[in-house]
């Protein structure tokens, strides 16, 4: 019988009731009394010098209350990068200022250089149209090679356009080079990891409310981590005392990375609210989101795989150029380096790994972590080059992977890229995949497709990722400027129900359900009496938000630790109530009992006693029942998986359709299988989107060509199949109390190489063996061109 509550149960989500009835409360649903509206003026050139901004006419227009330009923030610190990276030669990274509003220069289309505050949005828009800005257009640079070759400089003071030139692990470089030079076989592949737009369906929005009576600011904003937003605004951008700034993120309509970061609009509405002493609201249009949300991916990579003739891996060497866009975003220096380079050994016992990443400024929107952040880029390079290599050597692609897998008995295993994987069983994942994806029946299905004039391909992939962003000790060594841990407070109310305050912030993952399952399991009390409180810095302990699958892997253990403290204290209270020694108390199913007797008190009675401490040993025991825990783990967690899919290619048109898709993942212990499976579905949807449809494309002048849903091909229901998802091959994480690993990014990591491998396999089946790679998105035009390139 599957469980119906607690850890491991597919409990229905409590948040669904409000989402399904229109009672969700997203940032833009909040309207404050007396609020005003902000609209931004954004550059329509990719690179330009701001000569003058004339706001006179606009300022006199109906409803206009204030106009801000870059000058108003000239003294302000600006938005920092969260990670400091050092180049191979020991030089610190180049770190240009990222102002609240562009000052002096605009550096990408969409770069905001002025903002209008008015009584209504329409009035603000009308006034924005009346501002006359003289911007001298400068030559723009979009292509990374051109930027490095001395193209126009995005920042006048950085005469290389290079942020850093990073090597990982520099000490491995010579040995890797030598191993590749002497290897019996080397496969080389050049590929592009296409730039994507995260496209949460809720656009970014921020409303600020300054209270002149108390000097306190409240910022409602679409964020994956309200505490980090508060910290950045306070310590770096605006200097508002942290205790005077409350950041609230109510329901958030998806994030996928794009809402991790602090953006200038948040600072602007805060400043405007203070100036006007009225609330100021801004909601991005979808076009603004396309232009200004941090984009994802955008790597140009050359990868080499050296191996023996029998397919035994000897070395991986990677050269990557990573686009950071015009400014550094909060994680943009960590994404191509530590979230990418450290995973470049994959699931394999390869002895030598070396990764070089050159990170480049261009006149494009900032690029930062997007679902998977660095790991999809690593996995895509590895798993494509392995497939190509297997083909060159005439080996079975899956057998070649298996041959090189780290075996279960080898864990904990320190990879050649420097991470210590704690646990895993990659062969078991592949065995399960074999069974579920019915590899045996593939040839028959291929013949059916061929009879239909279609080419059928089978693609496979295995991946590993590092999740649970923490531990502070390790991230500190890697260059992080903040700590990574999480926190939870469990507050037992006098009536026995609970409020659990968590540092993790949901953007749709079902935290209110999953965290409550954990506490319910531990305390043996009904989930309906547990409320999860999140998204408000005034209510929750410090927390580092949700990204990198850290909610259940880092905040989950914080919840466990805080709940353990509750049980400890409650046990003391129960011992007092039952007039026995603490050691004699047993706690089970919500009852504290004296071992070997029928004397017991319920959790509710203990809670009541804690708050009505009459006849209470106040010298030995404090009243109240509320505990906080901060949890900083010893290592990342390492989810892994094996994916397969079959595609059909229409050789006449080049169109690819995904016929089936199977994902077998090892997420360690699973708190709510229904939610976890849903996370995988969503990730696969985005991964197939990247592989077949999505592309963020700039022209040579830096104009964004894909700036709306009419031009950016978002996957729709008819583009995607049903997925088969399995998580039965779990190897629990060895270093957190829940044994969990995290699941949010898996699908987006594992699916792109699977799809591309399948397309190549399909083409080869028809003899198009000259096609060894097609860059994503594998569009009909590209497939058709590849087929016909002979």
């Amino acid at each position: 019988m599957p469980k119906d509550s607690g850890i491991g149960a597919s409990t229905k989500r409590v948040e669904d009731q409000r989402f399904l009835t229109g009672k969700g409360r997203y940032t833009s649903d909040i309207n404050l009394v007396n609020q005003t509206h902000a609209v931004f003026l954004r550059s329509d050139v990719a690179h330009g010098r701001i000569k003058s901004i004339d706001t006179t006419a606009a300022a006199a227009m109906p409803g206009v209350l204030a106009i801000f330009t870059g000058e108003d923030f000239a003294e302000v610190g600006g938005n920092p990068a969260g990670w400091a990276i050092t180049s191979r030669d020991g030089e610190p990274m180049k770190e240009p200022k990222r102002p609240v509003l562009a000052h002096g220069k605009v550096r990408h289309v969409g770069d905001a250089y002025a903002a209008v505050i008015a009584e209504t949005v329409e009035q603000a828009c009308d006034a924005a149209d009346a501002i006359v800005a003289e911007i001298e257009e400068l030559p723009a640079v979009v292509d990374m090679s051109a930027a490095l070759a001395g193209g126009p400089f995005v920042h006048d003071e950085i005469e290389t356009n290079q942020c850093f030139d990073w090597g990982w692990i520099e000490d491995n470089r010579a040995a890797t080079d030598a191993a590749i030079k002497n290897a019996p076989h080397v496969t080389t592949l050049e590929l592009i990891n296409n730039r994507l737009v995260p496209n949460a369906i809720e656009t970014r929005a921020s409303t600020a409310d300054y209270d002149p009576g108390t000097g306190e600011y409240t910022l409602y904003t679409t964020s994956q981590n309200p505490h980090l937003t508060r910290l950045l605004i306070s310590a770096f951008v605006m200097g508002i005392a942290e205790n005077k700034l409350r950041v609230v993120s109510p329901d958030v309509g998806g994030g996928f990375g794009s809402k991790i970061y602090h953006y200038g609009e948040e600072a602007l509405v805060l400043a405007a609210s203070k100036k006007l002493c009225r609330p100021v609201k801004w909601t991005a249009t979808r076009s603004e989101s396309f232009l200004t949300d941090a984009h994802g991916r955008d790597h140009v990579t050359k990868i080499e795989l050296a191996c023996e003739k029998d397919g035994t891996f000897i070395a991986f060497r990677t050269d990557t150029m990573a686009n950071v866009g015009a400014y550094l975003s909060n994680f943009s220096t960590a994404t191509p380096t530590f979230l990418h380079g450290t995973l470049m050994a994959g699931n394999y016992t390869v002895p030598h790994v070396y990764v070089n990443v050159k990170t480049v400024f261009t006149n494009t929107a900032p690029v930062d972590a997007y679902r998977g952040a660095g790991r999809p880029e690593a996995t895509f390079s590895l798993e494509r080059v392995i497939d190509k290599c297997a083909h060159e050597l005439g080996l079975d692609a899956m057998e070649m992977r298996r041959k090189n897998f780290i075996k279960p008995e080898q864990f904990p295993y320190v990879s050649a890229a420097g991470l210590e994987y704690d646990t895993g069983n990659y062969d078991a994942l592949v065995d399960k995949l074999n069974e579920l994806a019915d590899f045996k029946g593939f040839e028959a299905r291929r013949r059916l497709s061929e009879a239909d004039g279609k080419l059928r391909g089978l693609g496979i992939n295995t991946y590993i990722e590092a999740c649970g962003l923490a531990p502070s000790n390790l991230t500190g060594v890697l260059g992080s400027r903040v700590g990574y841990y999480d926190a939870a407070t469990v507050r037992v109310n006098a009536t026995g129900n609970l409020s659990v305050m968590v540092g993790a912030q949901s953007t749709g993952q079902g935290h209110e359900t999953a965290f409550a399952q954990v506490v319910s399991e531990m305390l043996g009390i009904d989930q309906s009496s547990i409320d999860i409180v999140h998204g408000d810095t005034a209510k929750i302990p410090f927390g580092m938000g949700s990204y990198g699958s850290r909610s259940i892997a880092v905040c989950g253990p914080a919840v466990v630790r805080a709940t353990e403290k509750i049980i400890n204290k409650a046990t003391k209270i129960a011992a007092h109530m039952l007039e026995t020694a603490e050691a004699d108390i047993e706690f089970k199913d919500g009852q504290f009992s004296v071992a070997g007797t029928d004397k017991s008190v319920s959790f509710g009675e203990v809670a009541f006693k804690a708050y009505v401490p009459q006849n209470y040993p106040v010298e030995d025991l404090e009243p109240g029942l509320e505990e906080t825990a901060f949890y900083d783990p010893g290592n990342f967690t390492y989810p892994a998986g094996a994916y397969a899919c079959e595609v059909e290619v229409d050789p006449e048109t080049g169109k690819v359709t995904v016929e089936n898709f199977t994902a077998v993942d090892d997420f360690g212990n699973v708190v709510n299988p229904m939610i976890v499976t849903g996370q995988v579905h969503g990730g696969i949807g985005q991964g197939i989107g990247q592989a077949l449809l999505e592309n963020c494309s700039y022209d040579d002048n830096g104009q964004l060509l894909s700036a709306s849903y009419m031009d950016y091909a978002m996957p729709r229901a008819s583009d995607l199949p049903f997925y088969t998802v399995d998580h039965s091959c779990n190897t629990p994480c060895t270093h957190n109390p829940l044994g969990v690993k995290g699941c949010g990014e898996a699908g987006a990591i594992g699916s792109p190489p699977t799809i591309v491998n399948a397309v190549i396999n399909a083409l080869h089946s028809a003899g198009h063996t000259h096609v060894t790679h097609i860059d994503m998105p594998v569009s009909p035009a590209r497939v058709w061109a590849a087929i016909n390139a002979q």
Partner: protein, 160 residues
């Protein structure tokens, strides 16, 4: 200009500018924020409502065009006792939503489909949802939810 309409059975009226969209009238004037805005090109379907029984993207018509119309929004879909209706319940049972932002539009689109096609096929459902974008679910559970809401057996569609 002054307009009036019936929204979820209630008579409402308001003063709007000629350029005011129906979605803005619902959200800003009526404070019914269940209908969402996800784009500015009428592509995402987050704003889907019913106007005179037809599924409409409320960002693509003016409030004035709905003068005198019967409008139904997500706020009016639950059963009279406040419990979820069949379609809403199917979405919850089959985890057809994550962040919930596309969800009102999905429910309204599904409602219209099932009104005209009592037992849609998977292909028909996917086709019908072409005007609604979801970024969270990969659509698997949305399609499954709509199948289940139509009373069809979904046990063969991969679990959860």
């Amino acid at each position: 200009m002054k307009i009036s309409m019936t929204v979820n059975g209630e008579a409402v009226s308001g003063e709007v500018e000629g350029r005011t969209l129906l979605v803005d009238f619902l959200r800003n004037d009526l404070k019914m924020t269940g209908t969402h805005i996800g784009c500015d090109t009428s592509q995402c379907g987050a704003c889907t409502v019913h106007v005179n029984g037809m599924s409409v993207k409320s960002c693509s018509i003016l409030a004035a065009e709905a003068d005198g119309a019967y409008v139904a929004t997500i706020e009016g879909q639950a059963n009279e006792d406040g419990s979820l209706n069949v379609i809403q319940q199917a979405f919850q049972d089959h985890h057809g939503l994550q962040c919930g932002f596309c969800t009102p539009g999905m429910v309204m689109a599904a409602t219209e489909l099932l009104k005209h096609n009592k037992k849609p096929t998977v292909a028909e459902i996917r086709h019908h949802l072409d005007g609604n974008i979801c970024r969270c679910t990969g659509y698997h559970n949305i399609v499954k939810s709509i199948m289940a809401a139509s009373g069809q057996d979904v046990s063969s569609i991969a679990a959860e």
